[in-house]
């Protein structure tokens, strides 16, 4: 043991192997929920914590370490490498998966789709493959890990494979995952630059012509953007993420999307090395559009998990915006600002992994307690599920970008890097950046709308269905998982100085500069030198809490405490029923009206004479009809055009072989 943990890299690799073994142990008693849930998943969570600890200490040390494993292809063994970038993402993986794994230990029940032991194997394989993606130091190992990640998550998505919609969602996911993988494979093909060496070291050393470098960047953007749900490559995400069991949705949204960010960062800022400024425009514009598109769609969803999936699209849009900004600044030679934008990007990744995992797990508890995913049939759960409600509230406030929680910090940093950008040496960019800033601000405000809808409709108000009276709070393991993630949201919000200092190693590695910090104030975030710009969340919280407590105290001392409980007043109407509250459709109505042109809306309105009036509204993504359906049908047509070759008779196939042979012989003779 001492030899394995003597170096951080072997420690990480050992923990990934441990995840694999824990998964395999699930097969010992495949039908036992108790064994998998009470023993294996908590063990996996501990491995996650250990991974986070090792990766965190390696991040602080800031060193780089390489290792060649004695297996893989004959002439290309697996290379592993632990540098600040991969340490950071491993930290993210370990820390947020720890919460998810603990929760999963209490979540899975008997008789739901896949057997628990098998599920445990798929789950831990998924975790281990994500870790391997982050550690891989050669294209071959990276692609193998990437594919294992896609396949294991495919099986997890289709856990409840008896439901046709879930099978369909899984199929779309698998298809899109492979399209993305092809783009990444081609990108690596370009990156090796004629040397046919597929280690990342060789790619770093290769010198590419500008056109080829741009091609590699765009291929990487397509491949990783597909995984991250960048519009217009996002259509699989709102199908696949909600279809999976909630802990798996949490992992997919919280962690797997970040591997795409990791991949793009690795290719753009590490393997390619010197990005050209205009490359950044592509992720910037796509990211802004994605963020806006995602949040507008999230506001009109009626299924709570789909709402969260669209919110993930929004957040990935914000992440890509920051990334694009960073590349533009780096290309323009402004390393200090590039570091700030990159910092915002990384910080938002970390934040989102905690917030979104927390929210997805919260919906999982609600789903288990009520069996309902439709927002319009929930309500009032804060009374029967206080733990889930209050912990989810923290996540909702955080993702709405409210201070002093963590979502605000990364948005603050991103806005600061936008503000800093008033001197890029390209006029066009100078005009574009204020527009980007305006869009980011709009998205942040809309995220607040979405989260009020999400939390308010599920947990507040009156129960919309009588069956909700029997809802129960979640179990102890689930509470622990939720509390861990909520704690993460609070701490990441309150201690930004420490996080920024730890991220310095990553920005130094990628853009050659770190965001300076005045070390005298450990409680104050002041990332822009020479400008009076600072944010101190601890004082902020202390001041707000102080005023709140003082007010409560003064009110308590100075006035009486008499409280009377009565039925709700409701302007004296008297006969208040739960049906009078806004449904999810109702709450999204203003957004639907304002952004009508974004949606493809199907309305079914009642006529005045209807005895049983019915109101139905369905909202679909325009991209399905305008891009994907034509694409699918043209592929279908092409396939049926080729199908005439497939006669199904042996003699015909023999004829093909014969003709091929003749042609080859002819070529050999005359060439």
């Amino acid at each position: 043991m001492t030899t394995i943990f003597s170096s951080p890299l072997t420690g990480c690799a050992g923990l990934l192997a441990a995840w694999g073994l824990i998964g395999l142990a699930g097969l010992l008693r495949p039908a036992s929920v108790r064994f998998a849930g009470r023993t294996l998943f908590p063990l996996g969570a501990m491995a996650g914590l250990a991974l986070a600890a090792i990766a965190g200490s390696s991040l602080l040390a800031g060193g780089t370490e390489q290792l060649v494993l004695p297996f893989g292809l004959p002439d290309l063994p697996f290379h592993l490498r632990l540098d600040p970038l991969s340490s950071f993402f491993l930290l993210l993986l370990g820390a947020s998966s720890a919460g998810v794994s603990v929760f999963a230990g209490g979540y899975f029940r008997q008789g739901e789709g896949t057997a628990p032991g098998l599920l445990c194997l798929q789950y831990h394989l998924f975790l281990a493959s994500m870790g391997w993606v982050l550690l891989a130091d050669d294209a071959y190992g990276f692609m193998v890990a990437w594919e294992v990640m896609a396949l294991s998550s495919y099986f997890l998505v289709t856990t409840q494979h008896r439901i046709p919609e879930i099978r369909r969602a899984g199929f779309i996911y698998l298809l899109m995952a492979h399209l993305g993988a092809i783009a990444i494979l081609l990108c690596f093909g370009v990156l090796q630059g004629g040397s046919w060496q597929f280690t990342f070291d060789a790619m770093r050393a290769a010198h590419l012509a500008p056109a080829w470098a741009a091609a590699a960047f765009l291929l990487a953007l397509a491949g990783f953007g597909l995984k991250a749900g960048l519009v217009p490559l996002h259509v699989w995400l709102p199908e696949a993420h909600p279809a999976a069991p909630s802990p798996v949705s949490a992992l997919m949204s919280g962690v797997m999307l970040k591997t795409a960010v990791y991949g793009l960062l690795r290719v753009t800022l590490d393997l390619l090395g010197r990005p050209v400024w205009w490359w950044g425009l592509v992720p910037l514009i796509l990211g802004l559009f994605t963020a806006f598109y995602g949040v507008v769609f999230a506001a009109v969803q009626t299924d709570m998990k789909r709402l969260l999936a669209y919110s993930s699209i929004e957040n990935m849009g914000i992440v890509f915006t920051g990334l694009g900004l960073s590349v533009i600044f780096l290309g323009a030679g402004m390393q200090a600002v590039a570091a700030l934008a990159l910092l915002a990007t990384l910080y938002h990744c970390l934040n989102h992994s905690f917030m979104k995992s927390l929210l997805f797990l919260g919906t999982g508890s609600v789903l288990h307690a009520t069996g309902e995913r439709n927002l319009g049939r929930l309500g009032g759960l804060i009374h029967s599920m206080p733990w889930v409600a209050w912990l989810t509230l923290i996540g909702a406030l955080a993702i709405a970008g409210l201070p002093p929680l963590n979502g605000f910090v990364s948005e603050w940093l991103l806005l600061q890097s936008f503000l800093f950008a008033d001197r890029v040496p390209h006029e066009f960019v100078n005009l574009l950046i204020p527009m980007g800033m305006a869009l980011v601000a709009l998205c942040a405000a809309l995220a607040g709308y979405v989260m009020v809808k999400f939390f308010g409709v599920i947990f507040l108000g009156q129960p919309r269905e009588p069956s909700l009276a029997h809802a129960h709070d979640c179990g102890r393991l689930e509470r622990l998982g939720l509390a861990w993630l909520a704690l993460g949201c609070v701490l990441l919000g309150l201690l930004p100085f420490q996080v920024v200092a730890a991220l310095g190693a990553v920005t130094r590695q990628l853009v050659g500069a770190a965001v300076p910090q005045a070390a005298s104030h450990w409680w104050l975030l002041a990332p822009v030198p020479g400008r009076a710009v600072s944010y101190g969340p601890i004082i902020f919280l202390a001041a707000t809490a102080g005023v709140v407590a003082l007010t409560a105290l003064v009110v308590r001392l100075a006035y009486h405490q008499r409280v009377r409980r009565t039925p709700a007043w409701d302007c004296g109407f008297g006969s208040l029923t739960p049906r009078m509250q806004d449904t999810a459709e109702g709450f999204g109505q203003p957004i639907r009206n304002i952004f009508q042109s974004f949606f493809q809306i199907e309305r079914e309105l009642p006529a005045p004479s209807d005895r049983t009036p019915r109101y139905r509204i369905a909202i679909a993504d325009r991209f399905w009809r305008t891009v994907y359906e034509p694409l699918g049908s043209s592929v279908q047509r092409l396939a049926s055009a080729v199908a005439f070759l497939q006669q199904g008779r042996v003699s015909v196939y023999l004829l093909y072989s014969f003709v091929t042979l003749i042609v080859l012989l002819a070529l050999a003779l005359f060439a």
């Binding site: 008033d422 100078n430 709308y449 007043w569």
Partner: protein, 318 residues
């Protein structure tokens, strides 16, 4: 930070708490005069708050803790907001912890808690109010942020006191970018404080009300806090406007008794004028239909973005 800075900070908070209801009373008084009505007393909001504090709190049976917590949270955020807006002096110790972006975040926090509390009882009016408030908010918030960004770009800082100090030392004369944003800010102020033409603070008509719909289930001390918060919010917005567009008269150095002696009357004069202007706008405008409110706010947002673009283009030329 010197002790007198903490004193300024303390005086600012107390002054905001004390002056906010009077400012609200002043606006109502001006409105009444302009509309040929007999004006209510300047102290009416105070009496109202005092009366409410004495009453017994009536709370709906299915109210959760969130409902009772929200008034305190909303009040607390608004007091902190008052603390970081330089209404009298610019050397405010609390400002290091929260710049102008955090100030917008504070307003957003207050709004979200208010909307959540309104949804908590589950009445038709409550959710209606919450929905409309969030609709107004999601457009007003980025518009306010853009307004602040223009000022931040002009003065190379996002801390409000630094912005005020910078703008106060400029020669008299309006930057074109600031002219656009001043219009945007006025529109945002009207919308965010539930004034005509977006909302009407003096009716409870279900077709149109936004802010009042959220408070319907509150009573007694909770309602008193909410009312006080409303007054504070208007006061805060007015002070942001002064800080950005008419910063002259705010004490910029370490403040002494003399500085305060100038700053307090200046603030009072500005408030009196702003209150009159607000009453005039409210008298001249008609209430918009609720579904027209997004257009109104989109105008504000566009004005603010235009201001930003004007700043960038002028900066590029100069």
């Amino acid at each position: 930070m010197r002790p007198e800075d903490w004193l300024t900070q303390f005086i600012e908070i107390v002054a905001a708490l004390a002056a906010a209801p009077i400012f609200l009373g002043w606006v109502s008084q001006c409105r009444a005069w302009l509309q040929n009505r007999r004006a209510p007393s300047l102290w009416l909001p105070y009496r109202n708050i005092r009366k409410l504090f004495h009453k017994e709190a009536v709370i709906a049976q299915n109210a959760s803790r969130l409902f009772r917590l929200a008034p305190y949270v909303v009040f607390g955020t608004m007091v902190l907001a008052a603390a970081i807006i330089p209404s009298m002096g610019t050397r405010l110790p609390l400002v290091v912890s929260a710049d102008a972006i955090a100030l917008v975040g504070l307003f957003a926090t207050a709004r979200v808690f208010m909307a959540l509390a309104a949804m908590d009882i589950g009445t038709a009016f409550g959710t209606l109010g919450a929905r409309r408030e969030m609709m107004v908010g999601f457009l007003a918030e980025p518009a306010l942020l853009m307004v602040i960004f223009v000022a931040s770009l002009l003065s190379a800082s996002t801390a409000l006191p630094a912005i005020t100090e910078h703008l106060a030392t400029q020669t008299l004369g309006l930057d074109p970018a600031l002219a656009f944003t001043a219009v945007a800010f006025t529109l945002v102020l009207l919308a965010e404080n539930a004034r005509i033409p977006v909302d009407n603070p003096s009716t409870h008509l279900e077709l149109t009300m936004i802010h009042e719909a959220m408070l319907l289930e509150y009573s007694a001390r909770h309602l008193a806090l909410m009312e006080w918060t409303t007054a504070l919010k208007l006061f805060n917005y007015a002070c942001i406007g002064f800080a950005l567009f008419i910063p002259w008269g705010v004490a910029t150095g370490h403040i002494g008794p003399l500085g305060l002696a100038v700053a307090i009357p200046t603030l009072a004069v500005k408030l009196a004028l702003a209150g009159g202007g607000l009453a005039l706008i409210e008298t001249l405008c008609a209430k918009l239909r609720v579904m027209r409110a997004p257009e109104f706010l989109a105008t504000a947002y566009l004005f603010a973005v235009l201001g930003l673009l004007v700043h960038v283009m002028l900066g590029a030329r100069g």
